[in-house]
Structures are given as structure tokens and as C-alpha cells.
């Protein structure tokens, strides 16, 4: 990672000293009618908008409205097709007319407007940009609110020669030290975090948005004890947006929806232990992805922290310490775990035999728990010499995600419980051999990653949000680094087979 010099920091301070912000309003009669109608539908439905009968429709229409307002896409862009197809929309409206007579006419109108938009090639935001800015030789970036549309926006820009050199970035692209000559912000300023305008990465900012949205930036004091000069500064300009109809916030992340779809989306036919539930953190990743990571004590994963020094960037980090901005390394092919295949290669011919032995005592333990229950089993283990038997540890010991116990006395107690006392020493040795292989695997993967990360422009990585590392098969194979964008506020209970498997968001 290149260390930042004082002169580099000075450039950022200079940019923060009142950047020039300009506003560009865009108009489109059909889209305005659609926005008005879809908002009227949600208003009319009230709480019933979240009713199972309506939720897919309202959510899809809302998402389409926001995506089209926050990215320069044509209205018929195939990448902007919501999950709920137009055919399903029409079918729903036809069916529920009897149950919701008050809302059905608005719903019908909204769907018809949507269908017309989906046939419309217009791209008024792109037209505006081409007219106002044209070709730029100096670095120019287009900032979009949702990282899921970065690729779509890039493709749209490339259809216009004058705009093809523009770089499309998400929020992370304006957090780092990279600066631009011009920054074009798509959509209302209120949809973006304040740092876009208070710690700008360009001295010239253009906010492009539809005329019926309130797009102006409203600066506010950061600290409670600060002066109130901000209101006075903006009073004179507030009347310039008197013709705006909408002032709505960017929709928050629907964590429960993402989780529901995530659990349903990942199928694992052979997994007999799908009923094993674990506590997990849900992370939203760059580019429209998400992943569940184990939230048990001591769980960790491989991550890249671009803020850290070069030697320390690649690290095994406790999952509870993963923060937005870090990159988590995931396999996107063949299941989530990248350590086990490498460890098996290290174990060589012994791998199958050792894994079978491991599964053998775990299966016996699970069967015992099914018969006796968790609490009773814990008590029995304590009587047999275990020092750390409790329900949490017992779940971990049974789980296929762990190798065994930390301490030998706990392991021997398990062997006694499941009738393998005579072979305790053999099984314990196997456990230690597997652990050593896993440790070596982790180190080998990390070592190889450090070498590859050293050759990556970390500023580029931060802008792109994902990067795939091709390691030799013996050292992990293909691993993709995904930037973490957000974490669900609470942990969730998910099947163990869903952990570490990246899936596409469906919200």
C-alpha cells in the first residue's frame, strides 16, 4: 500500500475548503408520472404495502424508481429488471381487484406506466451529462449510490463516446485518497453520506437529479457545540427547490429480506446436518452480494484491511471485528471453505481416513445428544473429566466446522462418553494432525495472498470493490476479495451449511 505523504493529505484539505457544487435538473414526463403514481400507491396502501399480497410488487416498483433516479440507465435497461416481472405484476393486479378495490386502480395505472417505461429507450440522465460535460481529458468520476449498478452504469457510459472515459465509482471510491478533477453525483445529495460533500475528492461537484426530487445538499453542523452558520448560509437558496414533489430518503437495507433469500438461495443437497443452526453475522458485500459468517466465539476469517500497513494487511481476523471497508476473502466456487481442501492436500493419503475418524466420533456425540439432550450430555462430560463442557462448547465440538476440542481432558471425556475410551489416544492424535494441517494450510494461503496483495494497487482495489486472486490449487485456488459495505445490526440463526457462501442480494 502506498503511504500517503503530507502533500497528498494537503490536497484533500484544500478540496474540503468549500468545493464548488452545481446542480443539474433532469426532466422526463413519463418517469415523473410513474414516480408520482408509485408513491401514491404506497401512500394509499399504508401499512398494507408490506402485506404479502403487495410486498413483491411495491418493493419492485420502489427499487426500479430508486435505481433509475440514482444511475444514468435507460428505462429499458435489461440489467434493471426487478425480480417481480411485468407479467407477474399484471397478474397480481388482476387477481386482487376484488380484495383491494380502493388501491387496484392506482396499482393498475402504476403497472401500466412501468410497462411503458420498460419499452422506453430514453436515458435523460445520460443525455444531460453528455450535453453539459461532454468529453473530459481530466479525471472525471460518476458517483452512484448503489454498488450493484456500477457495472450497468459503466456500460451505459460506454455507449457514448464523449463519456466513455468517465470512471464509475461507488461510495468507497470517494473515501480514499484518489481525487478527481470533476465528480458527478447521481441523485439527490441526501442519498449520500455527508463526507461526499464535506470531505470531497474533487473541487468541482455536479449533482444530477430529476427535477421533482430535492437534490440540493443541506449542510449541517457536525457537533452539537458547533456554530449554526449552516442554516444561515443555505436560507437564500431554499426557495430554488420549491417545485420539488419528493424528498425521500434512500431506502435502508432490508436485512430480514436478504437473510430470507440468502438461506433459501443456497442449496446443499448432500448436507445431512442442515438442521444445525448457528449464530451468524450477515454482511452486505460490494456489487450486490452478501454472506453469512460464523459469529461463535473465536471464529475468524481471512481478510484484507487496506488501512493497515502492507505487511499487516492480510490477516486472520475475528469475525466480530470485521468492519465496513475491509475485504473478506471468499471462495465463490465449490463451497465456502478454502482451508479444508488445502489441508486435505497437506494430509495427503491420510486425509480420507482422518476425516472419517473425525466424523465417526462426532456422529456418535451427536447421536448421544439427540438421545440425552444438550444439558444432560454436558453434565455427563463434566462427570467424566471435562473442564469446559457447556452447551456452546458442546455444539462446537459436534459441529463439522470444528476439528475437535482445545484441551485433551475434554476430548478424553467425549471418548469415554461415546464408547471410544480405548482409542482415545489414537483419535486425539488424529485431531492434532488435522489441526496442524489446517494451521499449515492457513499459513500457506496467507503467505501466497500477501505476495499477491503486494502487487495489487490497493487504491484500485478499494475503488473496484472486488478482486479475484488466483492461487495455486494447493494453496487455496481462486479466492475473491469482497469489500464489506455493511453489517446487520444483530446476529441471525442460520443453518451451518449457509456459512461462508456468497450469494446475490435479492432486496
Amino acid at each position: 500500500m502506498s503511504e500517503v505523504s503530507l502533500s497528498g493529505i494537503d490536497a484533500l484539505y484544500s478540496l474540503s475548503d468549500e468545493p464548488a457544487i452545481h446542480y443539474c435538473h433532469v426532466e422526463h414526463a413519463l418517469f415523473r408520472a410513474f414516480c408520482r403514481s408509485s408513491r401514491a400507491l404506497i401512500r394509499q396502501l399504508g401499512d398494507e404495502a408490506n402485506d404479502p399480497n403487495w410486498i413483491d410488487l411495491t418493493r419492485s416498483l420502489k427499487r426500479y424508481r430508486f435505481v433509475m433516479s440514482a444511475a444514468p440507465l435507460s428505462f429499458n435497461d435489461p440489467g434493471a429488471e426487478p425480480r417481480f416481472s411485468p407479467v407477474l405484476m399484471r397478474s397480481l393486479v388482476a387477481r386482487i381487484g376484488l380484495v383491494y378495490p380502493g388501491a387496484v386502480s392506482v396499482a393498475r395505472e402504476t403497472v401500466e406506466l412501468y410497462m411503458r417505461l420498460r419499452q422506453c429507450e430514453d436515458n435523460p440522465c445520460l443525455d444531460c451529462m453528455e450535453t453539459l460535460f461532454g468529453q473530459q481529458s481530466a479525471p472525471t468520476a460518476l458517483l452512484v449510490r448503489d454498488s450493484r449498478v456500477i457495472q450497468l452504469a459503466s456500460s451505459a457510459l460506454k455507449t457514448r463516446d464523449a463519456l466513455s472515459t468517465y470512471e464509475v465509482v461507488g461510495l468507497e471510491g470517494v473515501r480514499g485518497k484518489t481525487t478527481y478533477d470533476k465528480l458527478i453525483v447521481m441523485g439527490p445529495a441526501s442519498w449520500y453520506p455527508d463526507y461526499v460533500f464535506r470531505a470531497p475528492r474533487s473541487g468541482l461537484i455536479y449533482i444530477v437529479g430529476y427535477r421533482w426530487n430535492r437534490i440540493r445538499w443541506q449542510p449541517k453542523p457536525t457537533f452539537v457545540g458547533c456554530d449554526g452558520g449552516f442554516e444561515r448560509l443555505d436560507e437564500a437558496k431554499s426557495d430554488l427547490e420549491s417545485d420539488t414533489e419528493f424528498d425521500e430518503s434512500w431506502p435502508g437495507i432490508d436485512w430480514s429480506l436478504i437473510a430470507r433469500h440468502g438461506i433459501a438461495a443456497i442449496s446443499d443437497d448432500q448436507d445431512e446436518r442442515d438442521h444445525d443452526m448457528v449464530s451468524a453475522y450477515l454482511f452486505v458485500l460490494h456489487g450486490g452480494y452478501a454472506v453469512f459468517l460464523d459469529a461463535s466465539d473465536g471464529s475468524h476469517c481471512l481478510a484484507i484491511d487496506p488501512r493497515d500497513h502492507a505487511e499487516a494487511q492480510v490477516k486472520q481476523i475475528d469475525t466480530q471485528h470485521i468492519e465496513p471497508g475491509m475485504f473478506v476473502l471468499m471462495r465463490t466456487e465449490g463451497g465456502g471453505n478454502y482451508i479444508v481442501p488445502v489441508a486435505d492436500k497437506i494430509l495427503g493419503e491420510r486425509a480420507n481416513e482422518h476425516r472419517a475418524a473425525q466424523e465417526h466420533w462426532k456422529l456418535r456425540l451427536r447421536n448421544h445428544v439427540v438421545r440425552a439432550g444438550l444439558l444432560e450430555t454436558c453434565l455427563e462430560l463434566l462427570d467424566l473429566g471435562s473442564l469446559r463442557a457447556n452447551e456452546t462448547n458442546l455444539r462446537n465440538w459436534m459441529s463439522g466446522r470444528t476439528i475437535g476440542t482445545e484441551r485433551e481432558n475434554d476430548f478424553v471425556a467425549i471418548m469415554r462418553l461415546v464408547g471410544l475410551a480405548d482409542e482415545a489416544e489414537r483419535y486425539w492424535k488424529i485431531t492434532r494432525v488435522i489441526k496442524a494441517a489446517h494451521l499449515r494450510a492457513g499459513k500457506a494461503i496467507r503467505r501466497r495472498l500477501i505476495e499477491q496483495v503486494a502487487n495489487v494497487d490497493v487504491a484500485d482495489l478499494e475503488r473496484k470493490g472486488t478482486f479475484t486472486f488466483e492461487l495455486p490449487d494447493a494453496e487455496g485456488g481462486r479466492l475473491t476479495a469482497f469489500r464489506v459495505e455493511s453489517r446487520a445490526p444483530t446476529t441471525m440463526s442460520v443453518p451451518v451449511s449457509r456459512l461462508d457462501r456468497v450469494f446475490a442480494r435479492e432486496d
Partner: protein, 349 residues
């Protein structure tokens, strides 16, 4: 826009009498950084941080402490420059020589502990502690350096400090070494009589909590120079002033320490609360803010950090719920244009 709530003009009682020249003012005026191939004067925001650190380090009060929080567009050099200002501002404050307490401290060290001794003339010795004794009221501390056992009278025992760098090994033959003449930037900022004490006596004037590696790089790697009109630039590093303990060469006195934002290192070796604690970043403040309840705080928050709003919420909570009115006044500069800042007092715990 961005001016802090009140500009306070009264100096607190602990501020030393102003001596001429003022090293902090000289540091602000004459410190240059390297841009391309030339030296350039520090920009306004950088000079601001030096002043802020100096003001907070010297405006201390027994009852209250000052919190100065500032939101910046990017982290980088704010904390290290503030810490440099803090250290320089207190450079002329004599270090309390509690001889008996220090003798007792040396007595608590195990036999054979590595120590270094700087004589009043600045000669450097390194050796292993042998014994401490007070026979017939003539106390001394003895340490072995090579073949020679040195006896240092109790009155000079404050010059003996344990060496915490485990990589240091005492060679079988050791010759006393004169103190290095090269003090870097400090040579251009402090008078000779102050300089020796500054370089070889230790006291923690401030701690900085943040990304350790980034902070240490700023202190030890980035080139700076004191450029006075008509004189040759005197180049050095911020470490020349900061004297971060873990980056000092053995035998040198330290004046500051760096701690990680995410925990991991305990606060060993802080015999008393430092006058100033600087939190470089939201994580540093949120994770470690409770560790310095009687020090003045400088909280530098990068607006682009993911936890920025959490840190601001905590600052606002302290302001609304815990702030007190105080007569302790700290001289602070006005925040540069484009930066938001707030300052208030809390009870010192």
C-alpha cells in the same frame, strides 16, 4: 464556518513562563515538509494541529479536562503534528526529580535488569543492574557495564532508566559513549541547556492512539526540516521532537507513546496520566476513550471512516450529558475553514 465554540484566552497556571525563543512558535513558523524536490512551509491546517497540541498539553487543571474534537477530510499527520506541539510546549517544564521514588523504583527491578545511564554531561552507559544500597547514609546504585562496575550516587539515580527494548544486548566490552551530537530538528528549536535534558530525560507528555504503523511511519519516515531565513535547512523527522518511546534509540529519553486503536497492548509504563491523549480516528476514540479519564483529549475524526458517525454521537453525548462549566482555560487556535470542531470540559477522574 467551522469556528469552535469559544476562543479561550487565559493560560492555565501550569503553563511555564514564556521563554524566548518559543520553540512551539518556531516549530510552526519554520517547519517545512518535502514536496517534490523542495522544502515547503507547513500548510495552515498542519500549523493548526501543532498549536492545538501545544495548547491542550499546557492547559491542564486538577478538576477538569478539555475535550477538543475535530472532523477532518482525511487522517494523516494531524495526530503526530499535535503530539509534536504538545511535547515541545512542555520541553522546558522541569522533570520532577523524586529521587527517593525513583530509587525505590530501581530497587524493584530484578537483579541483572538492563539499564542505561546518562550522566549529567550526556555520556551514555549501558549495563546490568547489580545492587542498590544505602550504607552509612551514602546511597548508590551499582550497575555492571562490561568488566566495570559503576556506582552512581543516589542524587544522580534519576539518570538511570530500565531498557525496555528486548533486542538490546550488552556487549562484553562497552565503552562509554558521548551523547550523539545530532539531535535532528531539536537542534534548531531548543537551547543547549534544555536540549540535553530533553533528549535524555523521560516523561510521557502525550499518548497517541490510532493506527500504530501509520503513526510511526509519520514520525520516523517522513522527512521534515527547519528552514530559517538565510540559514541552511536542518532536516530530520518528527521523531526528533516526538520521541515516541518504542522508536527511541536505547539510551535516549522519550516523551510520547503510541498505542493501537484496536487494543492488544496494555498501558504498561505509564506511571501517571499524560497531560494529553490524542485519538487518531473514530476506532481509536470509541475503543480506547475510557483509558485516559483525567487527560485532556484531542479527538481527530476522519469524516470518511465507517465509524465516524458513531464517534460523533459519542462526542455529542459527552457534550450534552457530561460537560461542565470550568474556569480552566486552554488556549486553542481557531479551526481552519472547512473543518468542524467543538471544545468543552469534562470532570477529570
Amino acid at each position: 464556518m467551522g469556528s469552535i465554540r469559544s476562543a479561550k484566552v487565559q493560560r492555565a497556571a501550569t503553563t511555564p513562563d514564556a521563554l524566548s525563543p518559543d520553540p512551539v512558535k518556531d516549530f510552526e513558523r519554520f517547519l517545512h515538509f518535502c514536496r517534490g524536490n523542495r522544502w515547503e512551509r507547513l500548510p495552515g491546517w498542519a500549523r493548526f494541529f501543532i498549536s492545538a497540541g501545544a495548547g491542550l498539553a499546557t492547559g491542564t487543571d486538577d478538576q477538569c479536562r478539555t475535550v477538543f474534537a475535530i472532523a477532518v477530510p482525511a487522517r494523516g499527520y494531524g495526530a503526530t503534528l499535535s503530539a509534536s506541539g504538545a511535547v515541545l510546549a512542555r520541553a522546558k517544564v522541569p522533570i520532577d526529580r523524586d529521587i527517593h521514588a525513583h530509587f525505590a523504583f530501581l530497587s524493584s527491578l530484578p537483579a541483572g535488569a538492563l539499564v542505561r545511564y546518562i550522566s549529567p554531561k550526556g555520556t551514555k552507559y549501558v549495563g546490568k543492574l547489580e545492587r542498590l544500597a544505602i550504607p552509612d547514609r551514602n546511597g548508590y546504585v551499582a550497575f555492571r557495564s562490561g568488566e566495570i562496575v559503576h556506582r552512581i550516587p543516589v542524587e544522580s539515580c534519576c539518570g538511570i532508566q530500565p531498557i525496555t527494548d528486548e533486542s538490546v544486548r550488552v556487549p562484553k566490552r562497552w565503552s562509554p559513549q558521548p551523547a550523539s551530537p545530532d539531535a535532528g530538528l531539536v537542534d534548531a528549536l531548543l537551547e543547549p541547556d534544555v536540549r540535553a535534558s530533553f533528549r535524555f530525560r523521560s516523561r510521557i507528555e502525550c499518548v497517541v492512539v490510532g493506527n500504530e504503523r501509520a503513526l510511526l511511519d509519520e514520525a520516523t519516515a517522513a522527512p521534515f526540516a527547519i528552514v530559517r531565513p538565510g540559514k541552511q535547512p536542518l532536516d530530520g523527522r518528527l521523531q526528533d521532537v516526538l520521541r515516541v518511546r518504542r522508536s527511541c534509540r536505547y539510551g535516549e529519553g522519550y516523551r510520547s507513546e503510541v498505542y493501537p486503536a484496536s487494543g492488544g497492548r496494555s498501558l504498561d509504563g505509564l506511571p501517571s496520566p499524560p497531560p494529553l491523549a490524542i485519538f487518531d480516528g473514530s476506532l481509536a476514540f470509541l475503543n480506547r476513550g475510557s483509558l485516559f479519564p483525567s487527560s485532556n483529549w484531542l479527538v481527530i475524526l476522519d469524516r470518511t471512516e465507517p465509524r465516524f458517525l458513531d464517534a460523533v454521537s459519542e462526542i455529542n453525548r459527552l457534550f450534552l450529558v457530561e460537560r461542565v462549566e470550568s474556569t480552566a482555560h486552554v488556549l486553542l487556535p481557531e479551526a481552519p475553514r472547512g473543518l468542524d470542531a467543538t471544545v468543552f470540559e469534562l470532570v477529570a477522574q
